[in-house]
């Protein structure tokens, strides 16, 4: 079971080579295949996640959540997706047409590109990049541009203001996010995600880097625009900030990308702090799914527990608390590494 998917990939490659294809072409076709599978799974997974989120919010508020369509309301999200797909596609007449149209597409493309380096099991990353973590963080910060594009392209001052708020928040939290990951990188001595997983053979990094995990988790919540940091969207107060002018499928693409980002960030947390695919009895790809889902459940649990915090509190929390703490964490990690190295470990 452990090597189920890697074996399938190998068999497919050797079959294509035996058909007379040059190996590089076989690899390319396999890559495209892997990519398509990841995109499809991630997109379909959003349907499950939306259902899960609504169920969890229901249970926390002692309601039932969706329960009419299908078993336990499982088909509710499919119906919602159908509705969004068939809605009229409205582009405001004064909008900057091209920017308005490309923003959601770019957003989802960037969100899906994050999965290229994530090891979804032992030897199951699409690209085994030696600067995988760097790639992940840099792509993650690109999504702010899409938000700004959406706000600007809408040609609506409130959309633009919403976008500026989102961008301010996301850029502020990018810094502690990157800093908190540095501790892990220093311990593992590599930016390659599968090597970081291997470095956790003895201890999971959550034990060695609890502060880093905490700062990462908080910063990631803000990066994802999730509650209690969901100021950019703030359903109950603002009309969805930068997304105000979007309808139907274009709006759904933003929604899709946010959930896709949620999965990616949770999978990264599982990879960096919880030993990735490592675990007893079950195959590695199942372990990473279980860990990712558990972390996502905590994200949802937090969203439906904490009230939204104020914008200035949000900013000062990032600059005055998270950044100093994560910097101190880097310092202490460095000192610790040198200390133990001096001890001859």
């Amino acid at each position: 079971m452990e090597h189920l998917f890697t074996n399938i990939a190998q068999i497919l490659t050797s079959w294509m080579v035996s058909l007379g294809l040059p190996p590089i072409w076989a690899d390319l076709i396999l890559l495209i295949g892997q990519w398509t599978i990841i995109v499809v799974i991630v997109t379909l997974n959003v349907i499950v996640l939306v259902w899960l989120e609504r169920k969890i919010s229901g249970f926390i508020q002692e309601r039932l959540g969706p329960n009419r369509l299908g078993p336990f309301g499982a088909f509710q999200t499919i119906a919602d997706a159908m509705k969004l797909l068939t809605k009229e596609d409205i582009i405001p007449s004064q909008a900057d047409r091209w920017i308005f149209m490309t923003a959601p597409m770019l957003f989802i493309v960037i969100a899906v590109m994050l999965y290229a380096v994530l090891p979804l099991g032992q030897g199951m990353e699409v690209v085994d990049l030696n600067v995988g973590l760097f790639y992940f963080i840099s792509l993650g910060s690109l999504s702010t541009i899409c938000l700004l594009m959406a706000g600007w392209g809408s040609n609506n001052k409130w959309s633009l203001l919403g976008a500026m708020r989102s961008v301010a928040q996301m850029i502020s939290y990018e810094i502690p996010l990157a800093f908190s990951l540095l501790g892990v990188v220093m311990l593992a001595g590599s930016l390659n995600l599968s090597e970081i997983v291997t470095a956790q053979n003895r201890y999971w990094f959550i034990l060695l880097q609890p502060v880093a995990f905490l700062t990462y988790f908080i910063a990631a919540t803000a990066e994802l625009n999730r509650g209690p940091f969901d100021m950019p969207e703030a359903e109950q107060e603002l009309t969805a900030g930068a997304y105000t002018e979007y309808t139907g499928m274009r709006w759904a693409l933003f929604f899709l990308a946010e959930y896709t980002n949620l999965v990616a960030v949770s999978a990264l947390a599982a990879t960096l702090f919880f030993g990735g695919g490592q675990g007893p009895w079950l195959p590695s790809w199942l372990w990473i799914i279980i860990k990712t889902y558990l972390i996502m459940l905590v994200f949802m649990w937090m969203k439906w527990t904490f009230p939204r915090i104020r914008m200035d509190h949000l900013m000062s929390f990032s600059w005055k608390v998270l950044i100093p703490v994560s910097l101190a964490n880097i310092l202490i990690t460095g000192l610790g590494i040198e200390f133990f190295r001096g001890m001859g470990w």
Binding site: F59, R63, M302, T305
Partner: protein
Amino acid sequence: MIGKGLLKGLGITLKHGVEKPKTIQYPEQRPYLQERFRGCLEFDYKNCIVCGMCTKACPNNVLSFETAPIEGSKKKRLVSYTIDLQYCMFCNLCVEACPTNTLFFVHDFELSTYRRDEIKKVYIPPALTQVDAGGGQAELIPQDALEPDREAEAEAKRLKQLQAMKTALSKGGQKVLAKYVDTEEDAAVLANLLQADEKKRDKMAALIVDDKEKARKVAQAFVAKERKTQAGGEEK
């Protein structure tokens, strides 16, 4: 400790998250109603003494009624009683004012109607007849109280017949059964069968009382089946 409040909040939502949802899925599940729940306002004309206290108590003019004088008496009789429920605010004042518990709330709370006049409830008591209550006093009682209940009587008669038929069949009753089958022999077979099987006996008795045509058909079917099984038994 920093973050203690956050953990406490997470604990609270976790606790509520595993609790059973409070939702009642109306209309599949019905809410539990307390005994004194104020649903629809109902009126029972039998107890009404036409005192008019209810109309005086009502702040919204929901209640109204028409009366007619009774000959040779100071009392009035009720012609019709109207509850215009659309104005009712379920304040309970009329129920408190009523000296004979004629007005009361029931648990029915699904009061919406398609038309405005459908929500107005008009009670018309059945026509009353004057009878001599003895001692020169006249009393009014509903007309149908004087007339015997024909339906109930018919039902009682039927039950009596049915009981008689059942007893007859359990003791044999070949003569009765002979009317429903072709030969004396068949009647004997049927009588034996019915004596043995109580279910079939009851069915047959009910059919003989209610529907003679059908009883004939069923009786013949019983005989045919019984003959067949007997023949089958002999062959074996």
